[in-house]
Symmetry: C2
Subunit: 122 residues, 2 copies
DNA sequence: CGGGATCCAGTAGGATACTG
DNA sequence: CAGTATCCTACTGGATCCCG
């Protein structure tokens, strides 16, 4: 069986880049992580995340739904209830994200330090 | 000793988000991967990546240098020669990126399919 | 050769007000 | 409660021309 090659191919680079820029926007990861605990309704999600506007939460959830990462369930009651849940695809993303999170925790202070020193020199 | 917890903390989410959006721009990953083979000069890098403008290559390299991910070496000859090399920090990033690349390869077709179907329904 | 300086279009992010 | 509609700002990506 074939081993998965390292990402040296141009198409691979673009694929990685596409995924990183897709999930690398300001709110996507925070929404995904908030949904890891289980399904959440809109305003509960909003409260948990904190300083996100309802506009940006709506947009982020819609994009995640479009990509098939979250599933949206509407109960036609009054008041309406809408539940958002991670799909299997969305949960599977949390694995590579966990790796990236470890790297971020380990190296982000160094990066910030590098930036500070660079800016002082220029 | 303490196990590294999953990225549920708010500060962690933001750290992940920051790294993902930082390296998730259009060219950063392609430059990093191009430099994995070894140090490269500016125009060699430009030729290898292909359709990047010299403007965007300059910006991307400068940001990577500022973060301490690449090291820039100038030989004051005529014509001037400038070599770019990945630092240890830059190379260490390639590990979580490899994980992300595998996920991208495995799931990007599904995502594109999901989008297509979503757009047809709306 | 390896950039810097400008200018420009498109998109992401956000504040606010309104609605079924 | 769960959005939509509008308007605005800032940043990203890019094209072009210039420079030592």
């Amino acid at each position: 069986m074939k081993m998965t090659p390292p990402p040296r191919d141009r198409a691979d680079c673009r694929a990685v880049s596409e995924v990183l820029s897709r999930v690398g926007d300001k709110w996507t990861m925070q929404v995904v992580v908030a949904l890891l605990d289980g399904p959440q309704r809109f305003n509960a999600l909003k409260r948990q995340i904190g300083d996100i506007s309802q506009q940006m939460l709506t947009r982020t959830l819609k994009t995640l739904e479009r990509d098939g990462m979250v599933e949206r369930t509407v109960c036609a009651t009054t008041p309406p209830q809408v539940e958002y849940a991670l799909s299997a695809l969305g949960r599977s993303l949390s694995e590579p994200v966990r790796q990236m999170a470890q790297w971020a925790r380990a190296h982000l202070p160094i990066i910030h330090d590098n930036r500070r020193r660079y800016d002082e020199r220029h």
